[in-house]
Amino acid sequence: MNHSTTASGTEPALRSAAAAVADRSDPHLVLANRVEQLYSQLPLGIAATVVIGLIAALELREGRIIELVYFWGSLLLMVSALHAALYFAYWRSARKVEEGEQWLRWLGIGALAAGVTWGFGASVFFPSHADERQVFLAFLLSGVMSGGIPLYAASWPIFAAYAAGIAIPFTYVLATFGNRLFAEIALLVPLFYGISVAIAYRLNRVFHSGYRLRHAYGKLTEDYSVLNQRLEHQLVELEEARRQVEASGRKLALFAERAPIAVLEIDAQGIVTAVNHAAELLFGYAAAELIGGHVKRLVLPEFHADFDNNWKQLTETREPLAGIKIRNPRRDGIALVCEWAVTPLVNPEGSIVCVIAQGKDVTRQIEAERMQKDFTSTLSHELRTPLTSIIGSLQLLNSGVVGELAPDVSELTLVAERNGQRLLDIINDILDIEKIESGRLTMTPEVLTIDDVVREAIVLNQAFGERFKVRFQASGELPGRQVSADRKRLLQVMTNLLSNAAKFSPEWGTVDITLEERGANVRVGVHDRGPGIPDNFRSRIFSRFAQADSTPSRQKGGTGLGLAICKRLIEMMQGRIGFEDRAGAGTTFWFELPKHA
């Protein structure tokens, strides 16, 4: 079918495209179409057969054997009737497509029968007639044979069978007639047959590919409409997604725009690409002045090296940085301290799309922290210096180094010294708790033998106990057990617990100090024989300024901060502290510290 095509560059491509399209067709459907075409032409064939048969019968009737003409005519009518029956059966069938090959076979048998009938007529009537009739017959047969080409073109084997039915007997008759002219014609008939079959074959190919293409394009159209629907659906989804992205973009922009912190968008080279209003206010530059310039404009020159290091780290690791304090100059020259969170936005390929820097002005906060530290330090010095003089003077008076005092005077100077000491304790406690709560109290942990610490604490507080006529007595030694703790702070806790116990013990009483192991901990207990802890005070005993409201405990002195400090110190040393009623009477205060491995 491609014999007429010329060789050109695009043709192989077109051909393969056409083949690809044709491949999309369903061969069953193509066959069914061809069968349908064949059957649709059947009435025409039947009508032609009947008409030509009648004319032939009339013409041949004048010959000698009239019975033979009748027999042949009836045979032709019967074949036509069978064809008609086949035609009706086909159109009434519900399985035309599925049984396409079957219908094609039936039609082939019918065509062969028709061909044989015509061939039979030729072989019977040709020898028995005179020259004119023989020409008539030859003309008739060639007409019937060539008429089969368009009729059966949709299936060349059917045509081949039909034409063979005519040609073979006719050729035989011509060849055996004994006439030289007829013998020559007998040689030409198979040639005509061959040419006719070849033409039928070519037509068959044309029909076949025509049907295939029709189907393929039908299928393509179908596919395209499905594709179109899908595309339309995706388009709607895309549009929706675009709207959502736009909405969240607007939301984000609004967040940045209204945020009270400065927000800068910077590209990977450090060039500012967008700033929010807070950034304009903070640095005193208009957005247009900052955009397009390097972000280093907002960093004091002496910190450029630090900035470069941070920026290098950011662009290399692509990890966000937070809590970076940078000194940023305002437009008016005043330097601010800002705390920055810097986040690189990285695309799936791993390169930085932009960097978002969020900065908060912490200048005042840092100044306040410094002032608070200075204030505490100054307070500490300014309060202790006069107290040093007051307590020192009273101690010298009371020690008798400047001479004996009259009993009344001595009593008053003792009261003054005691209360000076108390004031000093309060100041120390307030400074301690302030330091603990502002996170400025640091521990210096060392490995301590718990026995030694307890013994040292008892020695240090012996004098205090004697003042209250109370004796400290240690029991349950734990030789060699060590803890990791700040020695000075641990002694402070012990002193607090021992002095509390002494204050609340009856005169001539004993305060027991016990040591025991509790799993991975060492527990130190301080047991007194005092009045116990009032119920309404238990829950807030470790709170700041906690003191039982009863008059006697107030009279004992103290700041109400001691136990609060003890609790925080012990917790800073990874321990815990508590209290419980002592069997009999009194209270046990205890703390536990993890044993040093």
Binding site: S377, S380, H381, R384, T385, P386, L387, T388, S389, I391, G392, S393, Q395, L396, S399, V401, V402, L424, T442, T444, D486, K488
Partner: protein
């Protein structure tokens, strides 16, 4: 421990009341000889003249603070070897550790007890090489 007992103390302190108490404590309780210097800028001359066994320095003074004076003393051969004890109201453990690291012989926090001060100084003296 040095072979001779601790007898001569030079104390640099701007507060006159504390000067008096320390003098009384060291002279009356401790039976020591005391030289008090109120102006830290004159301290090195005073020490060179007095030749103390030990120097006590106040931490916070208006003209020059104790640590600065201590550093200046270390630059001068005549005061370089003198053991120095700081008297401080700052009293943070870290500050005290810092002083010891700088080469101070010891530190006593304010307020101190004038009854115990001589003994505290003698204890520090006893630990010296």
């Amino acid at each position: 421990m040095p072979a001779r007992p601790l007898t001569r103390i030079c104390y640099v302190e701007d507060d006159e009341d504390i000067q008096r108490i320390v003098r009384m404590s060291l002279e009356r309780v401790g039976k020591m000889t005391v030289e008090i210097v109120g102006d830290p800028t004159m301290a090195i001359e005073a020490m060179t003249a007095f030749r103390p066994d030990m120097v006590m320095l106040d931490w916070m003074m208006p003209a020059m603070d104790g640590p600065t004076l201590f550093r200046q003393m270390q630059l001068r051969p005549e005061t370089k070897a003198l053991p120095v004890v700081f008297i401080t109201a700052k009293a943070s453990q870290r500050d005290l550790d810092e002083l010891i690291a700088m080469g101070a012989a010891g530190a006593i926090s304010k307020p101190f007890s004038p009854r115990d001060l001589p003994d505290q100084l003698r204890a520090i003296w006893a630990k010296l090489p």
